[in-house]
Amino acid sequence: MAKYTTVAEAIARVGIDHPEQDYVFQNMQGEETSYPFPDVEKATAKRAAALQELGLQKGDRVGLIVIEPEDFVLTFLAAVRIGVLPVPLYPPMSFGSLDAYVERTAKVLDTSESSILIASTKLENVLWGLVDRVPSLRKLVRVEGLKESNRTPNFPEITPEDTCFLQYTSGSTSDPKGVIVTHANLIENCHQIIVNRLKMTPEASKGVSWLPLYHDMGLIGFVLAPLVNGIPVVFIPTMRFIKRPSVWLDTIHRHRGTQTFAPNFAYALATRRVRKADLERWDLSCLKSCGCGAEPIQPETVRAFTDLFSEKCDMPRTAVLPAYGMAEATLAIAFKPLDEEMKTNIVDAATYEGDGKVVEPVEGQPYLEHVSCGPAFDGHEVVAMDDEGNILPEGTEGELCLRGPSNTKGYYKNPEATAATHRNGWLHTGDLGYMLDGEVYITGRLKDLIILNGRNIHPQSIEWVAAEVKHVRKGNVVAFSRPGQRSEELVLACETRLDDTAELEAAVRQLVQKELSLAIDHLVFIKPGSLPKTSSGKLQRRKTRQLYLNGDLLGRGSRQAGATADKLTLAKHVAASIWSRAKATALLR
């Protein structure tokens, strides 16, 4: 039974019920500041008064683009306390086109009809123009100015059905969708995560996270869920982790952290960048779970991380915890059981790719390895459905659909998008997968979304940009992902009539980098007519990807451009499939 019925109540009371527990904020130099929960209550009360002085009232939306975690968290929570809906937004990325960033930010603020934008002072130069671009926006306010207020805040009544905040999903630039997250959604989902599945307690648990706080995994997973359950957390600035990945595990070691969470690429990064001296020094026996989600999970990455850190640092082999969820289901929907090692399912590739059916692997034939994300939360259901909405039997691939109290009710002021995903009481995820022995397996994406380093990318965005380059055949570009050494990698296949494509390659790479801040891992040029299309002329991304992975795309009567390095990568993939066949043979002995 959850202790509080709303997040607002939790913020007001957690300092009384758990006075010893705290948020610890680390800065870029590693200096740490503790905010015991009673201080969180005081600080958020002050900021709530400041927000009310700006004229904000229950139900208003306020954009939040704040870099310092402490400022972000306290301002977000302050808004929640007075029923003002925060709309957290990404700050601009260091490398990339500012125009695209401002455009998307304007769209989100406009769609949410935010009346005020609160931002870090150092972002003012980039953001000031938004006030003119967004009709509802009346002011840009510096977050640093919010701390002081002598007025007493006036806390309105807040019920579980009230909206707590709006979570804009990383949709395409033109169509951002704001998930309506209520207090009831959050209390339920957070209870499932922290209490039911991770079995965390205020006395014995401590979360450690470097995740960006404007994204649901960091915000709900590490700011809200621990708070409403009285759990202490240490926050590492995201940039600090990226520059020096060792700070993640080092912080866990020092604070005796018990829970953390990260996308697949971070586990690969941590394994790759670890130093011998740290391996000798760290004691990670405290770690109970390292959640892994938000992008495809690569079994090899998990195994390498688990093998290394269990052997050298006493991390439990059960620690890495595959997880499945999405913003539309508040945060999470299924977790690997706490005390089990990662489970995978090995299936015959041809049968799965051809018929979507799970069968045992065949000796000498390619196989696929799928990672289990465990059973759905109690009181929640996950099923695989066919195109017509029929629930499929276990072991059959379909679209994963969810039902339960964590399901959000829809997108803010977007009934069409809501109707598209919420049908007959089920939330349609757009993910492909199957159920087996009551556990969820995710195997792909219905809409070909590419996930790179935790970013959801629509292939069209990349394809359209590449198509702007002269000599790239418009409408004949396909973007998709392939499994790489550390995480998913981006492949772009472009038709062109040119024979010598060295300059074209440079031009496409540069433009994609400039417009989207994306690096292409393998850029493939092929002769016109090489890309597979349906009878009505539509490009087939999944088929293209399949041809590529089988090594058949380049062989379609075309001249392959690209450096020796690209050929080596292809050879690596061929070698990998030979290796998988060999392994399948060994498995069956």
């Binding site: 870029m28 990325m93 260091s94 490398f95 990339g96 940039m239 990226i242 520059k243 020096r244 990945p245 690429f265 990064l269 960048r273 790179l452 380093n453 050494q485 440079a506 790479r509 540069q510 994609v512 980098q513 400039k514 801040s517 994306l518 690096a519 292409i520 891992d521 450096a563 020796t564 390095a565 690209d566 080596l568 990568t569």
Partner: protein, 84 residues
């Protein structure tokens, strides 16, 4: 560190974060802009982390924000140690 060594170190950093483009990095010159490298933001920060580790220095964020080319990065390395 002399200029040749710094260039070699930067090439090593690039090979470390993007080994699949190693042959490209062997010939990359300091006039290359960061944008032209076509690395994603994580790989770029990893490169900075690699250089910081190898030189036992810390490059302040404000200085990094001004870096537009590999030459600028080389200048940071050349500027020597800032206490880590």
């Amino acid at each position: 560190m002399n200029d040749t060594e710094i260039l070699a170190l930067i090439r090593d950093a690039l090979k470390d974060v993007a080994p699949n483009r190693a042959s490209e990095w062997d010939t990359v010159a300091l006039d290359k802009s960061i944008e032209q490298l076509s690395l994603d933001s994580i790989a770029t920060m990893e490169m900075v982390g690699f250089l910081e580790d190898k030189t036992e220095a810390t490059f302040p964020d404000e200085e990094l924000a001004k870096v537009n080319s590999l030459g600028d990065l080389a200048s940071l390395v050349r500027a020597g140690r800032v206490s880590a």
